[in-house]
Amino acid sequence: MVPDTADGGKAGVDLSVDGLLHLRWLPGVDIQVEDARAAMAKVNELCQQEQHPMLVDMAAVASVSREARGVWSIPCGASRIALLGTSPVDRVLANFFLGVHVPPCPTRFFTSRSDALAWLNPGA
């Protein structure tokens, strides 16, 4: 499936046939509040009132503003969120999101894609 790019052009969102949302932040982006809102709007648009697990590919994101982190405290179409990163920087960014804000759905940070997918689809 071709990624549907969110407004602002910093992320791509798609919904696979097996019901997995995939949000990909482009490498090196500084995520601001409007970028986060645009991405969330796209997620909600794809979900159409239904909830789906979501994999957030955040490897190589340069920074996330405080306001942008706050956007993800608002409930959206995601039923659970796996934050996927690779570096210690990703881990710090993800944990600041998890620590400072209370996520609206189960949310965890992973460095392994397979572990993330397994956690997102426990029955699969």
């Binding site: 503003s65 405080r66 570096s87 210690p88 920087v89 990703d90 710090v92 960014l93 600041f96 400072v100």
Partner: protein
């Protein structure tokens, strides 16, 4: 040669120490520690542990900045709230809660400000003091909520009577004040009369209609006139307005202040007059017209002032009533008069029987120890209560409340006689005459003044005497100065009289001789 593990650590350590990002990190932390919460450290592309620490420090700095800014906003909000509360409290402290008008504190401030701003050649401010004339009756009869409603209405009317630049204040109770700034004398008086005019209309409270007119005193300041003097003199002028029949406007004049000072001096001197032995009683006979026999003696108070000579009661009884000194004066008159009765019986045991008449003021009737005092004084001097007659003005008897009613009936039980004094000067209800708790009526001298030359007045006096007789009371006419008056009154059936024709007030020593000597007779 170092072991392999140690060598690796050493190499790693050396590499870390040499990493220029660490110096950047240290610099950034120092800037943050110095309070520069906007300081950020640029991570590298490596995204390794050092970049993770840098990112963490940046995020913590961001959080710290946010918390700091939020705290500042909260402090600013709280400070603003405190300021607002302070302004509100000040407003409350300077406003009358019922009417929303300025209170005395704010009025005084505004007067001071007006005086200051007029200091450089401007017009000095003027103060009006307004006291409602019959407010107590509204409160007493209709209750305090009705009274409050009337006060609010008065406040609204006064607001509409002044200019925007003037201040209307409620000083307390039913007393209001208006501060007028930068106005001519004509403008000030115009505002005062407009305020008075606006208060002429009735006030509707529920289904009741009341009136809340005011006596208004005006004091127009001059350069250097102090604020306290403005208030005091407006107040004096207001009392002048009260004295001149209420519901009018009086402009302060320095003579008014002299009169007030005179009253104040009299009050102070009167306090020492009793102890200083400056009071004395004179006695005037009450005569049976037909026989000329003296049947009573009225004790009349005189104040022998060491400097100003003899002062008549009319000049100080009012002040004594206002200041409460009337209790002390009344007590002295009672004790002295009854004691004198005893002295006469000692010095002149053969004197014909007669009564002692003593005037009792309205305030005295509610003196808590009055009954006891009268009973004990009579007993102490061995005087029969039936030989004491208390003269009480008709106004007191007409408007008596339950307290007065109780005292009057107890006095009658005691055997003391009660006489209605000054009959014809008040506003007696004729039908009420029959129910008055009195034995005799003293007809005021003003009624017989023109009797000799005015046949209509003769008929009028005759009718009054018949009325008193019909009510089952005996009449004594006072102020008889001529034989003709005496003859006319006797012809009308009047039994008793008093006046210069029968004798001037005399000292106690002259009374026995007067009692023994027959009064001037009309017919021999």
């Amino acid at each position: 040669m170092l072991p392999a593990a140690v060598r690796w650590d050493y190499v790693t350590s050396r590499r870390s120490v040499e990493d220029p990002r660490l110096q950047l990190l240290v610099d950034g932390v120092v800037r943050l520690a110095a309070g520069d919460l906007d300081a950020r450290i640029e991570p590298s592309e490596d995204r390794d542990d050092i970049d993770a620490v840098i990112t963490g420090v940046n995020l913590l700095a961001e959080e710290l900045g946010y918390i700091h800014s939020e705290l500042e906003q909260r402090v600013a909000a709280r400070t603003a709230m405190l300021r607002r509360t302070q302004v509100e409290l000040e407003q409350m402290a300077k406003t009358d809660a019922l009417t929303g008008l300025a209170n005395r504190t704010l009025l005084t401030e505004r007067i001071q400000e007006a005086i200051l701003s007029s200091a450089d050649g401007g017009k000095a401010p003027a103060v009006l003091i307004l006291d409602l004339d019959s407010f107590k009756a509204i409160n007493d009869i209709l209750g305090h909520s009705a009274g409050d409603a009337a006060l609010v209405e008065v406040a609204n009317r006064l607001r509409s009577a002044v200019r925007a630049s003037d201040t209307v204040a409620r000083l307390g109770g039913d007393e209001f004040a208006i501060l007028i700034t930068a106005a001519t004398k004509d403008e000030i008086l115009q505002i005062a009369h407009r305020a008075s005019e606006y208060l002429q209309d009735s006030v509707r409270i529920g289904i009741e209609t009341v009136w809340a007119m005011a006596s208004i005193g005006v004091c127009i300041g001059t350069p250097g006139y102090p604020a306290e003097a403005l208030m005091r003199d407006a107040d004096i002028a207001m009392y002048q307005a009260k004295a001149r029949g209420r519901n009018n406007v009086q402009l302060f004049h320095p003579d008014m202040l002299d009169a007030v000072r005179e009253r104040s001096r009299i009050t102070a001197e009167l306090r020492t007059a009793v102890a200083g032995g400056e009071l004395a009683l004179l006695y005037q006979p009450v005569v049976e017209l037909a026989s000329g026999r003296v049947i009573g003696i009225e004790a009349l108070l005189r104040w022998h002032h060491p400097v100003r000579g003899t002062i008549m009661p009319g000049s100080f009884i009012g002040i004594a009533e206002e200041t409460g000194l009337i209790f002390e004066l009344g007590r002295w008159v009672l004790h002295e008069g009854v004691a004198q009765m005893n002295r006469w019986s000692q010095t002149d045991p053969g004197l014909p029987d007669f009564c002692l008449h003593i005037n009792l003021s309205a305030a005295e009737l509610l003196r808590p120890d009055l009954l006891e005092d009268i009973r004990d004084t009579l007993a102490q001097h061995g005087v029969d209560p039936r030989r004491l007659v208390l003269e009480i003005t008709e106004t007191v008897l007409m408007s008596r409340g339950t307290g007065e009613e109780h005292v009057l009936s107890r006095l009658r039980e005691l055997g003391v006689g009660l006489q209605i004094d000054d009959f014809g000067t008040g506003y007696s209800s004729i039908s009420y005459l029959r129910s008055l708790p009195a034995d005799t009526v003293k007809v005021d001298q003003s009624l017989i003044k023109d009797m000799e030359s005015d046949p209509r007045q003769q008929k009028f006096v005759s009718a009054i005497l018949q009325l008193i007789s019909a009510a089952g009371l005996n009449a004594t006419v006072e102020g008889i100065e001529t034989a003709e008056q005496a003859a006319q009154l006797e012809a009308m059936g009047c039994l008793f009289g008093q006046g210069y024709f029968y004798g001037y007030p005399v000292p106690a020593a002259e009374v026995p001789e007067r009692l023994r000597r027959p009064a001037p007779r009309l017919y021999s």
